[in-house]
Amino acid sequence: MPTAPAPAFADAVASDRSLRRFLHGLPGVDTVGLEARAASLGTRSIKTTAKAYAIDLAISMIDLTTLEGADTAGKVRALGAKAVHPDPTDRTTPRTAAVCVYPDMVATAKEAVAGSDVKVASVATAFPAGRAALEVKLGDVREAVAAGADEIDMVIDRGAFLAGHYLKVYEEIVAVKEASGAARLKVIFETGELSTYDNIRRASWLGMMAGADFIKTSTGKVGVNATPANTLLMLEAVRDFRTQTGIQIGVKPAGGIRSTKDALKFLVLVNETAGSDWLDNHWFRFGASSLLNDLLMQRQKLSTGRYSGPDYVTVD
């Protein structure tokens, strides 16, 4: 994995000024068009076998997440067990992609999913605010990696980004990427705090140029999280980035996706925007917790023909 920028962008990241020129030179986002496109793709009707396929795909793309101050080792173990066997009554149910926890819970999570292909992702860099010194953030990352995290979810410094210090944000991502070593790096922009679609596009390019393996919408801790429109915008960014550099980068919408219907809309966005190459949990993830239960209930409905209820899935 290259930690140096793709050669095409060596000039752009040479200085704060050149980086600003590059990012502000990206085409502006047509807000109305973007939202209309996202809304129209959300009207697709997906039924029967296509729905069954989509539900299984969505389950396999979930980063089953618990990021609470009240997390205990027991809760993380329960989460791990659920990731490995989402529906114990039906062993054909696919596993989720990963569990996502705080760094101090990585070792516990690792034990809980041992022997399966479920990955352990850890948020780091003073998640969710990202307000800490760089050394503290890097220490956070190293600790998570040392505990065995397969993936690191970092937050960018939104303050620096909004103030226009793009190079600072860039260098921080590069440093975190280096500290992550072999772990895949997801870069969280917290789109709800970036105010404009133009900013989301800029942040996407900035993250990709700095070596992100995934770009992720949000932490799930603010009012506005993943929306179809901002995810569509990021999917366009990864598509264009691959066209330009040949490097494929993943996308992870997180927060606010609770129903099967929503999840299927996102999968339509992926297929129609980035393409079917991204319809794989190596390249697309959902950051979610309650979504899994709804997917399981829908799955039970498809296999038994009767509506299921929350009594038949775990409480988490």
């Binding site: 009767r306 509506y307 929350p310 038949y312």
Partner: protein, 308 residues
């Protein structure tokens, strides 16, 4: 000077789900006609309104709304529930004329007979409102046991109840099946009479403007068998009242079989021509209650014989 005749503003009858008034998710409607004995000539003059023809997805959405409202409604004090239900009766009184007209059209009876039905329905509502904080004393209480224990039984609501409203009595029968279900803290998904749904849909407007939280009562109109079948099989419905399956023994049997899958409480249909004006008793209240019994040690703990 020519006078322009005024155009009547027709009412769009809509479902009542989760405190809102959606159309059917399917977009379908069906024609509701006057009961034959009241209608004069055949044809268009019989037409009353279009009612939403609910689909199984409307039923599913209604169950979600009812489940969401259940804990809050069951958690309200019995006294508060009684006040809220009494408030519904107040609202009904204010809309009395509208219900008299709708019941007369729906059931093919005279205005005066319809008025008697509506009055009885409002009284029935008040009667059940009074029961909210009394039913626990009647069916619960301390049990004598052979040991040093307090043994107390208390009734608790069953949960989400699917209610098939009676097919003939469009308003008094309807109130007589909804009120006892919600009085004890259950939430209800109600399937209105298939051919006489308008008073039920108007009842939704009354509930929305009283203090009943959204989702406590959800009212669907459409083909009873089409909506009841997914509800009877639904794993998140705790009980089903088959009153409206009167006159269709096959449907009632199929629904009961489907309901057995998750051990729903089932209330079987009664005679088709039930006289709803008679005193209902507490039977319907207790149909959808679960009894919780608590054992608590009592008696002496120490050598001194002191109890706590």
């Amino acid at each position: 000077m020519s006078t322009v005749e005024r155009l009547t503003v027709f009412k769009t009858y809509k479902l009542y789900v989760g405190g809102k008034f959606p159309r059917s998710e399917s977009g379908r409607v069906y024609e509701v006609k006057k009961a034959t004995s009241a209608a004069g000539a055949a044809g268009k003059a019989n037409w009353l309104a279009n009612a939403p023809l609910s689909s199984r997805k409307d039923a599913r959405d209604a169950v979600v709304a009812a489940r969401k409202a259940q804990a809050g409604w069951a958690g309200a004090t019995a006294y508060n529930r009684g006040q809220v239900l009494y408030r519904v009766a107040e609202m009904l009184e204010g809309r009395r004329d509208q219900f008299v007209r709708e019941v007369a059209d729906a059931e093919g009876i005279s205005k005066s007979k319809a008025a008697a039905q509506v009055d009885a329905a409002i009284d029935r509502w008040v009667w059940y409102a009074g029961w909210t904080d009394k039913i626990a004393q009647v069916v619960g209480g301390a049990n004598p046991v052979a040991g040093p224990y307090f043994n107390l039984s208390t009734p608790e609501p069953t949960g989400v109840v699917a209610v098939l409203a009676p097919q003939k009595s469009s308003f008094l029968g309807l109130v007589s099946v909804i009120a006892p279900v919600i009085a004890t803290g259950n939430t209800a998904v109600v399937i209105a009479s298939e051919e006489r749904p308008l008073p039920a849909l108007s009842l939704g407007e009354v509930l929305a403007t009283s203090d009943v939280p959204g989702g406590v009562v959800n009212i669907l109109s459409g083909r009873t068998s089409e909506i009841a079948t997914p509800l009877a099989a639904h794993q998140d419905v705790n009980a089903i009242d088959l009153t409206g399956a009167d006159g269709d023994a096959d449907l009632a049997r199929d629904l009961e079989i489907a309901a057995a899958d998750n051990l729903k409480r089932v209330r079987r249909p009664q005679a088709v021509d039930t006289d709803w004006t008679t005193d209902p008793g507490t039977d319907r209240l207790t149909s959808f209650l679960e009894t919780k019994t608590v054992w608590h040690p009592t008696g002496s703990l120490g050598a001194t014989g002191s109890a706590y």
